[in-house]
Symmetry: C2
Subunit: 168 residues, 2 copies
């Protein structure tokens, strides 16, 4: 297989994976494209490569920057803006996980607290079960958070390993 073909495949499949996890196809594809590109790319480069419109490119690049996994880069003497992706997959993953937690999980956890405040007799079996379920979800969320924090620590190991490679 040729390199260009392999990159193409990677980008396409990364897009599908993104879709399945609630991330829009183009955003995932742009991310994949920048991940496998050695040099920063301009909006025009991205448009051409992925065959998408300027508006679409702009929106999704900005969204990727909001997630902190793509950065704007300026080249001396060039008017255009260029973009580059964070290449360390660990950092990418951690940023995505944390951002999703912040945006999507935390709001619902706040709500759950409110939902436990129910008008019901002490003996009400239904109410008890409901509260127990909510409690379990909250406990689970806490455990998962701790697990992720644990992974962030593993991050340092990884990073150390990556650094080592540079000196080989």
């Amino acid at each position: 297989m040729k390199l260009s073909e392999a990159k193409q495949q990677f980008i396409l499949n990364w897009g599908v994976l993104g879709t399945q996890w609630g991330i829009n196809r183009t955003m995932a594809q742009i991310h994949a494209l920048l991940l496998v590109s050695t040099d920063p790319m301009s909006a025009d480069d991205i448009m051409k490569e992925l065959q998408i419109s300027r508006g679409n490119t702009n929106m999704n690049v900005r969204e990727l920057m909001d997630w902190g996994i793509v950065d704007k880069v300026l080249k001396p003497g060039e008017r255009k803006e260029f973009f580059t992706a964070e290449k360390d997959i660990w950092i990418v993953a951690m940023k995505i996980i944390r951002e999703r937690k912040r945006r999507e999980v935390e709001p619902i956890l706040g709500l759950l607290d409110q939902l436990k405040d129910i008008e019901a007799d002490k003996g009400d079996k239904d109410a008890k079960q409901f509260i127990a379920t909510i409690n379990d979800i909250q406990r689970f969320a806490n455990q998962a958070t701790r697990a992720v924090d644990g992974m962030v620590k593993m991050d340092e190991h990884w990073f150390a390993g990556t650094l080592l490679k540079l000196f080989k």
Copy 2:
């Protein structure tokens, strides 16, 4: 807040959360409904509660059964089928994670292996970087898998704790 209102809120918000993670709204809502219901529910019960069609109900209940987080229950003397959700959130979470891995992540990991097989000179910088990126993703996937397996072990702790509560 009243119990019925709290359940309603829970179901609605669980549906939104599902959507954001690539799970369809109705599926998440049915799951939430069964999670907070003490007794098994029939298709008619679900239709009425969530105001959805029979076909929609049927499809999504079956999908939930495929995921292994909803079970069919038969009541003696009743023709209808009833459904009930796995109530232990840990088990639910583990089943979802494993299923998503199996369905969505593993296929792409298989592909990645193929993509590393590139025709290129040994010195080709672009090809090297591409392969390095793929390797990093694979390494990350392995680490994540191990982390999840670690969480499954925590599962036993949790389960022990839940059992304990029963004897209090």
